[in-house]
Symmetry: C3
Subunit: 330 residues, 3 copies
């Protein structure tokens, strides 16, 4: 049984096959490959694109999508194995997953980290437990990584460049008033490295991504011919970039102990047209939702070089490819 | 590209064609005209009939409906163009609409006004911006007007009268403990005027609808042969009515500054059987949900002359007609 | 018109026919019997299995399921007939049911009791009113009884035993920090009695189920050859049990006046492996969600004799049978 838990779990050949499949499914929008198949999406956190695009990825292929929101419409869920359930939640994840495995053909899970203790959160225990308890394929719809988003980003870049190898990819931190998940950053970094790009990660001091992801990326570029560089100088990082992926995330050094004023020191990391002029007439994208005029200006986001909507659309197409791969119909 | 934003945007011939289409679709309940079509319903406010009837309007015609609730299941959304998004919301309406335009074939929007400043709310900026940003047809599922409800009301009346022209239509304000949206009142007034009815709007002093809608209605009756009258005397207004449309709304004079005790002065505006006896054995309807024994008594609502359920059912049929018209399949 | 309101409303022959139908539908998973049929599920309380399994029971048979949650996505609903609706809710149940009757082919209702006054709650007025107001079949998705769950429990037992007659069925109370609904207990008791089992209900003093349900069960065993016994001694009750159904519920003596410390006296009612060793190598099941290591230990729930997931899966199959029976397609 296959899962789509992390993009780094797959050889680059599989990723390329998924991208080819996604391109084809983008042209032939409707098919009946998922007739009688049901995916359940388990959303512990809000979602607009993920929910809608998975629903469509199923329905446009003859299948069915059911969305559950534990804690509001559905029973609140406890996560810890072997715990005594004497708190507020009525259901254990083990039971939810075992039951949904019997009802459905595939389960998607969105479960952001707890933001209290990174040493704990980095183990991604919820996802790991779900993988253990499920008897149907699991799709990571964002935990501490976001492999569906990363695949959509790859497709979006491939539509612009004949070949991604040695193109300069800049993952730039940007300002947001809250400490966000590092998931999109982690997966974007790895995806670009898998594609053999020259990757630069720019972020303020103390905002480095977990070295686990940096190391995975470095391992990939050895095989695939790119480079991975980290920098605290945004302007230098952006220089001659072919593709800028902007994203805010919280400092892992202040994890569980967020200092709003500290982060506010970096308000000038907002991507502006002036900053984009440092690039090689580079494209820019973001996973959405994006805080306009904080992460990047309206001018940048509404420019011809902005690929935010292309990438959002590509979520649909890559997720069709992932589903068909996992469910053995492609 | 066509939209269904306001009922007054259409010539009466188009409205009549929609009503004919709705009548036909009421008889032949199921078809496959919307195969492979998806409508996304964006609900910023609660909904029972609208949500259910649009879902059915799609599914009974082979299509698919996806419901999103920004701020709960989906990301919270900011509306203002060019703003710096440093508040609570993570997504901008511009991005949500651009993305949903790529995912779907039609977007429905329910977004009640802000109830702080009528000078601002009457511009209906959210709807106007959505119309600007969307690349697929938009359906107004209630903003400051409610054109789907008004079309259902017209169909309900046409099923009872051979000809609506010169029938007496009374739009009567009624008591509710809160200051409600004027949307249903606005669209009902206009729809009845488009149909050439003799329209009387009765409401307490200081509860007049925005003169914009009164003027649109007056323009229509010039063309269509009816009349538009306003009155503060409910009993006189109800006299000889063929059709009473009862609805509560907040005073535009006290907009953003609601005085509960002021409104409570008009508790005796509840429609009772005694008041209905003033009419020409008139029918009564309401958009639902209705506060029973405040807006109208149980006796009135459960009487043979009550058309509340007929109108609610007709929502389904007129919305099928609207969808087929907008999506070019009728 | 048929409804599925309470399991005791049906002769045992009908229940057996439903179980046979469910077994067949479990083998042939997909059909088109419910093409063009829609079920609306009205959820006043959270749901995971019920929501998902009814959605699948419709969609796997070609039909469509719409989920409504009054008070969050949908308008808040008042229940009392003839009331003056001057509180927080905008809609009356009478209107909601009348409208949904016109939109759909079947309505499911989950509405837990008020937990203030058992003399009132035991009348099950919400369900009774819905039955009165609906013009389409109603399914009880848990009010003060849970007949869908009970049917799933029966199917689960029948899959293990050739014949349920005279098998020892123990309904055992267990500890939970809150005072839960007696619904599952009520329906499980009756279902086992209908099947002619030897039924023992064990619970602490003051935790007896309403005698109405005890009496219905006693009437059934007269006809069907089993027995009904009540006991306050859990160990004696469990002795030689073939099937243990564990469930917590609140004391009807302290209804509306819950004493957390009182209930906490019975923390040792948790079903453990030691307790299960008293049985006749008995099976154990529960309706889920279950508080692990309070109601029963992980060791018990994850043992080979645990049927919790089989029963949860069987919800899907029995509900298909119920739907087909009510909608006249089986």
């Amino acid at each position: 049984m296959k899962n789509y838990a992390n993009i780094e779990d797959f050889p680059i050949e599989t990723i390329e096959a998924l991208l080819d499949s996604a391109s084809m499914l983008k042209k032939i929008k409707f098919n009946n490959l998922l007739k009688n198949k049901t995916m359940v999406g388990l959303f512990f956190n809000p979602s607009t694109r993920t929910r809608t695009s998975f629903d469509l990825a199923m329905s446009q292929q003859g299948g069915h999508f059911i969305s559950l929101e534990p804690g509001s419409k559905s029973w609140g869920i406890d996560f810890e194995e072997n715990m005594v359930m004497d708190g507020e939640n009525e259901e254990h994840l083990k039971d939810a997953i075992n039951v949904l495995s019997r009802y459905s053909d595939c389960i998607g899970v969105r479960c952001f980290p707890g933001f209290l203790d990174w040493d704990y959160d980095r183990k991604d225990m919820v996802l790991q437990n779900i993988l253990k308890w499920s008897s149907v394929p699991i799709i990571n719809m964002e935990t501490i990584s976001h492999p569906c988003q990363a695949l959509a980003m790859l497709l979006t870049m491939k539509e612009k460049f004949n070949n991604l190898k040695k193109k300069k990819f800049v993952l730039s931190w940007s300002y947001h008033p809250k400490p966000l998940n590092t998931a999109v950053g982690n997966s974007a970094l790895i995806a670009a490295s898998m594609a053999g790009m020259d990757v630069t990660v720019v972020n303020p001091p103390y905002y480095d991504l977990d070295e686990k992801y940096i190391n995975i990326a470095k391992d990939f570029v050895v095989k695939n011919g790119g480079t991975v560089t980290q920098s605290n100088n945004q302007d230098e990082g952006l220089a001659a970039a072919d593709f800028v992926y902007v994203k805010s995330w919280g400092s892992l050094k202040q994890y569980g102990n967020f200092k709003k004023e500290e982060q506010a020191k970096y308000k000038d990391w907002t991507i502006t047209s002036a900053k984009m002029s440092l690039t090689n007439n580079g494209y820019i994208s973001h996973c959405l939702p994006i805080r306009r005029n904080l992460i990047a200006t309206d001018e940048v986001l509404d420019s011809e070089n902005s690929l935010i909507y292309e990438e959002a659309e590509n979520r649909l197409h890559v997720q069709k490819a992932i589903l068909n791969y996992l469910l053995g119909v492609s």
